[in-house]
């Protein structure tokens, strides 16, 4: 079984390096869809299963990439900077090219300002990213937003360095 997994991963990696063309190839050559699992009768993978694994790997990579980059804001602002727009454009491309993904956009604030106003400001920050992604063609039904205000800081502390890290949107993608 372990052997099979290693073999399966090698095949998947090969497929992924072929940048999307792999799925068509797999579908068009059914004879190669089944892989011998070292003599084990239960170790055969159907084309469907291979496709499922390929998609899962694509999703895993997209989820990691979408979650890796946060976007940051100025104090009491929900304006998207040029850098933020570039990051969001990448996320939009990933969301559009990777089927079966949902995205939760979290809006956060620094500890300046009061909790309740920051809850509303966090909503605005999350919504700014949401609206940008929708403008970039992402299906809005895949998107959700939540504000945590100043309740979940990324960095503890009241220095400007900490605060600038806390005025942010975080992106939590998940598979359907």
């Amino acid at each position: 079984m372990q052997k099979l997994s290693v073999f399966g991963l090698i095949v998947l990696a090969l497929c992924l390096t072929m940048a999307g063309g792999c799925s068509k190839k797999v579908a068009s050559t059914p004879g190669t869809d089944t892989i011998s699992g070292g003599g084990s009768s239960s170790g055969e993978l159907s084309a469907e299963e291979l496709e499922r694994q390929r998609l899962a790997e694509l999703q895993r990579q997209a989820i990691a990439k979408i979650g890796a980059d946060k976007i940051y804001f100025a104090f009491d602002s929900n304006e998207l900077s040029q850098e933020s727009r570039a990051i969001l454009t990448e996320k939009a491309d990933l969301l559009k090219s990777t089927p079966g993904l949902n995205l939760l956009i979290e809006g956060h604030c620094c500890d300046i300002g009061t909790n309740e106003y920051n809850m509303a400001l966090g909503e605005r920050r999350a919504r700014a990213a949401y609206e940008f992604l929708v403008l970039m063609g992402v299906d809005s039904s895949k998107l959700a937003i939540i504000s945590y205000g100043e309740e979940r800081p990324a960095v503890e502390g009241s220095t400007e360095a900490a605060r600038s890290q806390n005025r942010r949107d975080e992106f939590k993608a998940s598979a359907n």
Partner: protein, 436 residues
């Protein structure tokens, strides 16, 4: 009301205030101060020692009364060392008290306690407050104390009566405060008396509770609960201790508050922008109370239910506004500063307090709605946030990190020196004042 005390005897009821008697105008501009001495307890019968009363109750009660009165900024608390000739009053009844030495010590009011043991309980106590210069009895009450746990309640009742006799209002000792306490990554709702006694944990939820607010009758508490996926509206019933949790339309729920009629007002973003709505009794979304292109949050209502204060960034920065719900007219309340949030309107609808960002820290400001005059109530280090009026419109509680972690403090409409309300270890924020 779970009344556990037996009021034994009503001694001489508070005298009516007359021109020549001591009374304190806590609302007027020139708040006077009086010197108060809480005398050591005495036995009512010469052959009976106070030591026969369990749990050190007589001393505990006097200490509690002393601590309670120390919350009132119009009292200067005297100690035994301040009394010329020693602190023993000579007796717990007016005819036995040596008022002369208290006069010499510039004492204005002296409080005495006379105790007797009580079979099957702690004891019976008569508490009296005398005006030293006239010897007049201001308040006299008797209580049966069944258990040591009732000590704080006896103290609260007596202090409420004393405050009411002197100022016309005793609600400070009859009211409670809800607040949020940080516990690791979670935040839970707690409540205690306004003196930080009888602390009770209300929630034990896996997430973050924010923005508690009491109903006007003090029987329901509303707040927002944030879990890993969504905001939820929570309503806690004090009588049944039941907690209802509901999802509402939109993504973000901000600053719920009870209206005068008992419905909940809350800011929802269901149209893509936080606006203030009134929920129906089944918590479905009802009428719009305030909407605008900007952020509209933080509703709070006066006792008449006609005045609603709220925060809006419609002018570019967050400011406090007032809406007359009868006419629909909206006017700006905070005139200075660039960041004014967290408003609370006094029950009589004449004063608004809020937090203003001053040089990177929040300070509590008040605005007199009649004159429009704005003044800063708190100073010093750290940030002072989330002000909330007491039911009598005299005290203002707020959260502050002036001494380190956030704790709850108390000042007054005059901006008296803030006093810590002890709420135990851990950060405490978001005070909400309700009735007991």
């Amino acid at each position: 009301m779970r009344l556990v005390l037996n009021c034994l005897i009503l001694l001489l009821i508070t005298s009516n205030a007359t021109a020549d008697t001591l009374n304190i105008d806590i609302y007027g501009p020139g708040q006077s101060r009086v010197n108060l001495f809480v005398a050591d307890p005495l036995s009512k019968e010469s052959g009976v020692s106070l030591g026969s009363i369990p749990a050190n109750a007589p001393q505990e009660l006097q200490q509690r009364i002393h601590a309670n009165c120390a919350f009132l900024p119009f009292f200067t608390m005297l100690s035994g060392k301040d009394i010329v000739g020693g602190p023993n009053p000579g007796g717990y009844l007016g005819q036995n008290i040596d008022f002369n030495k208290f006069q010499l010590s510039r004492t204005d009011i002296v409080i005495t306690a006379g105790w007797l043991p009580r079979p099957g309980g702690v004891g019976e106590v008569e508490l009296r407050a005398y005006e030293v210069y006239t010897g007049r009895l201001i308040v006299g009450k008797g209580y049966g104390v069944a258990s040591p746990q009732q000590i704080y309640e006896v103290a609260a009742r007596f202090c409420a009566d004393l405050m009411e006799a002197l100022t016309g209002h005793g609600d400070f000792f009859r009211s409670n405060i809800a607040f949020v306490k940080k516990e690791g990554k979670r935040k839970q709702v707690y409540m205690s008396t306004a003196q930080g006694l009888n602390i009770q944990k209300i929630t034990n939820l896996d997430g973050i509770c924010v923005s508690p607010s009491w109903s006007h009758d003090g029987q329901q508490l509303v707040f927002v609960f944030l879990d890993d996926k969504a905001h939820n509206l929570c309503v806690w019933n004090r009588q049944t201790r039941e907690l209802q949790k509901r999802r509402l339309p939109g993504n973000t729920l901000v600053s719920p508050a009870f209206t005068r009629s008992g419905t909940v007002a809350i800011s929802l973003d269901m149209r893509g922008n936080p606006d203030i709505y009134e929920l129906r009794s089944d918590y479905s979304v009802g009428r719009v109370l305030e909407e605008n292109w900007g952020i509209d949050i933080g509703p709070d209502f006066d006792h008449s239910g006609q005045k609603m204060v709220f925060v809006s960034d419609r002018l570019g920065n967050p400011h406090v506004f007032l809406k007359n719900l009868g006419t629909g007219e909206v006017s700006r309340v905070s005139l200075s500063g660039k960041y004014n949030t967290g408003p609370s309107i006094s029950p009589d609808g004449t004063q608004v307090v809020f937090a203003q960002l001053v040089q990177g820290h929040h300070k509590i400001f008040s605005v007199d709605l009649t004159t429009g005059q704005e003044r800063q109530l708190t100073f010093g280090p750290g940030s002072d946030e989330d002000p909330t009026w007491s039911p009598d419109g005299y005290f203002v509680a707020f959260a502050s990190n002036r001494s380190g972690p956030y704790q709850i403090y108390l000042t007054t409409k005059h901006g008296d020196e803030p006093i810590l309300i002890p709420t135990g270890p851990g950060e405490a924020t978001s005070p909400a004042w309700g009735k007991l």
